[in-house]
Symmetry: C2
Subunit: 149 residues, 2 copies
DNA sequence: TGAATATGGAGTCACTAACTCCATATTCAA
DNA sequence: TTGAATATGGAGTTAGTGACTCCATATTCA
């Protein structure tokens, strides 16, 4: 029961974007260097985040990535959903009829409780909560500015 | 973030044992048949449960397995601990120094919260809670009797 | 004595997380 | 106009491991 590296990377890179001065954005190479994530793998992750609407990308020279919303409006649940899909602890939780052995499986509600618990933590945690203290709260009014210098 | 089949099997087989009439115990083959778990794999799982002290085994003809304690005193956390070890959602949570990037990693407390949440559900759920309704509570006074007929 | 049980541990196999590579498209600067 | 710097798309690779199998051994009972 581990979270994937992909998810970990995604979260850290989103936080990295949230930390850019004036939210100016950052490009693949710089994120890769700062977060120690292999650049080619990071590229794939960023594509997922862009497709999912959490990040905006700019092509060509001087391009890069910017958060699409305020860090306080991006939850871990959204990132998890993009990287991993629905939270489910057992295969039998995916659809109703996959549990074949017992008509009313007694552990089903337990797995459900786990799901809800984790979902709750993910839903309540925003990128803003993950910004290291010294930087918390600054530059918030300068969000959403374009990347280009 | 999935629970392993091994853990699922272990839980179901423990419940199966809790359901035996008069807690007479059951042997590999019958558990395997009833719970649809490959017998050779089940053998390995049962060894873990025996070593862990949750189940007593009897060798030789007429042998098998019996729960060592009352179902209400066996928690999912104990079973999980045997099958999977400590709950940890990220590798960096194993020891203090594995998180190398940032001295005070902001997501650490979040992973910790997940851990606590799941641990809580596991600790509060006993085998007794997983016994299907019609059987709940019966035969409790006849626990701990020997296997042999 | 032998059939029926559990034990121990090495071995197999398939799947997938994690990562690479390359060809292509876009943008800007000179 | 060209080329350097960026992102995109997707196929390919690899190492690790979860989910099993297999067999030789020990124990118990009929």
């Amino acid at each position: 029961m581990q979270l994937s590296k992909g998810f970990d990377y995604a979260v850290r890179c989103m936080v990295h974007l949230a930390l850019q001065p004036g939210n100016g954005g950052a490009d693949l190479k710089s994120i890769s260097r700062a977060q120690a994530v292999p650049v080619s793998y990071l590229a794939k992750i960023m594509r997922t985040l862009v497709r999912g609407g959490l990040v905006t990308s700019t092509l060509g020279r001087g391009g890069g990535y910017v958060l699409r919303r305020d860090p306080s409006e991006i939850t871990l649940l959204q990132i998890y959903g993009l990287m991993e899909g629905e939270i489910n602890f057992m295969n039998c939780m995916q659809n109703e009829k996959s549990c074949s052995l017992v008509p009313l499986c007694p552990q089903r509600p337990v797995w459900g409780r786990l799901q809800k618990a984790v979902e709750g933590v993910f839903r309540e945690t925003t990128l803003q909560d993950l910004v290291p203290r010294p930087f918390a709260g600054i530059e918030k009014e300068r969000l959403h500015v374009p990347v280009r210098p």
